[in-house]
Subunit: 292 residues, 2 copies
């Protein structure tokens, strides 16, 4: 049995993310047994009937018992309680990972909840997802060719970080290691702040007397720019609160750039304005060439 092979996977949270991880492991023949827990009995039954889990458990502790890998894939708000509930049932060498999109808050919760078991926790963030939630939308190749960020803490066991990396790479992910703080700053910049800006723009238009008229003639530029404003309000409420400090910091950076652009407009300074736009345009075009 290689280091990448999972004898017993405990899936805490049987949804899109967890279900896709389980399916991918199965498809590659990398797992012997999967026990699953979800708060909802109906969800557990669905996971069982879809063949994604082998055993449905009605407690977190029962699910993690004997597991060598635990994947925590529950809504952010449920994370602390699930970590506390698994603490005393974890095997000595169990690898515990989450899939949350903010990391400093998860590390803080894990530090509180896991105590001296903290070294087994390797915080993980797969940059993958779908517009639809639920285990019925789980798919084998959700993580294929996508980034997977690991943010080990100072307490994290090196061998478990290594195992986490090997596992995700076996599923086709590109793995990068960052500190929790660097991770949160990066996603504040390229994901959380853009969401906040899209919410702000759409809300400011909707509040104006002529807002409906304005929206009625909006074109493809508005469509793409504002797509993320339609995101799930509860999910984004939680992300923005969890990563508040970094998002507010990135917003200050953005406002400083906006101030410069507007100052050039007010001064009718075409040269400076063109220079600023050109810098943004080149950056975005270069990004497209590498990542589009």
């Amino acid at each position: 049995v290689s280091a990448v092979h999972v004898k017993r996977l405990a899936l805490i949270g049987c949804g899109l993310m967890g279900g896709s991880f389980a399916l991918a492991l199965r498809e590659k023949g990398l797992v012997d047994h999967i026990s699953g827990y979800s708060a909802s009995a109906a969800t557990r039954a669905k996971a069982l009937s879809l063949g994604i889990i082998d055993t449905a458990c009605d407690s977190v502790a029962q699910a993690v018992e004997g597991a060598d890998v635990v994947l925590l894939a529950v809504p952010v708000a449920a994370t602390p309680d699930c970590l506390s509930a698994m603490r005393d049932a974890l095997s000595d060498d169990a690898l515990v990972m989450d899939v949350g999109s903010t990391k400093s808050d998860v590390v803080e919760a894990a530090t509180q909840a896991l105590g001296d078991r903290l070294p087994c926790f390797v915080p993980a963030h797969p940059i993958a997802g779908k517009e639809v939630a639920g285990i019925e939308h789980a798919e084998t190749n959700l993580y294929q060719d996508r980034w997977l960020i690991l943010t080990p803490t100072e307490a994290t066991r090196g061998d478990l970080t290594q195992r986490a990396q090997t596992l995700w790479q076996a599923l086709g992910s590109r793995v990068m290691q960052l500190t929790p703080q660097a991770h949160d700053a990066a996603f504040a910049a390229v994901s959380h702040l853009p969401h906040l800006m899209a919410f702000a723009l759409v809300q400011s238009i909707a509040e104006q007397a002529q807002g409906d008229l304005y929206l009625s003639i909006a074109g493809p530029g508005f469509k793409d720019f504002s797509r993320i404003a339609a995101s799930d309000p509860k999910v984004w409420r939680d992300i923005l609160l969890a990563n508040r400090e970094q998002v507010l910091l990135q917003s200050q950076h953005m406002r400083a750039s906006l101030d410069k652009l507007e100052a050039a407009m007010r001064a009718d300074d075409a040269t400076t304005l063109e220079k600023l736009i050109t810098s943004a345009s080149h950056t975005r075009s270069a990004w497209q060439a590498s990542n589009g």
Copy 2:
């Protein structure tokens, strides 16, 4: 000959927008003769060889002579000079339209340049375009099923506004009439400000020491949100300056919404934050249902 039939079209500016208008009229059998002017002799020759214009003219005045419809489709900066150059050559009942994406500035330029011929000018803005410029990319159905905004001034002849509307409708456009001010406010809100925000975000990331790292893990949300940041710098420099007042006003509205969102984050006020996001999310989802 019906009111919609064009005996002689003068195309001032042989590019993507003008060329597509000419092609659409030809395809529908709605034009007898097209004379074309472009500042570049090579562009005039190309328009001629592509069969889009019948006669290449080396001055604006020559092109508009005898024309019953004039379409001005040059870069914004060239608009005042072209209007001045056509003034004394225009036929009595000629309909003159432009295709610019800002309207108050064009009306001001036309008031200066056309003098007592101002009543023939019907400012027009087709909400259509492509990522590539140039007459070689012109296409017959560019304006089909797209909005066309007319912004007649108080001086504009009603019969010419009516003729403009009939013409664009014959090409398949949905025509709406707005005042130049309402037009500019609407596009500041749904187009110009989103561009400014996308420029500001991308620039603020690029300026940070870790900017390249942040961009390297950016996903589909960033991709869509920031697509318009790759827009042509000279074009957007001109638009932002031409519509400066309305863009700055819309930016104030957006900043007020952003302030509210950030205040809820700072106060850890999950209820208010969720309410604000929900309002934006519902507005954007409803927009998608009607316009997506």
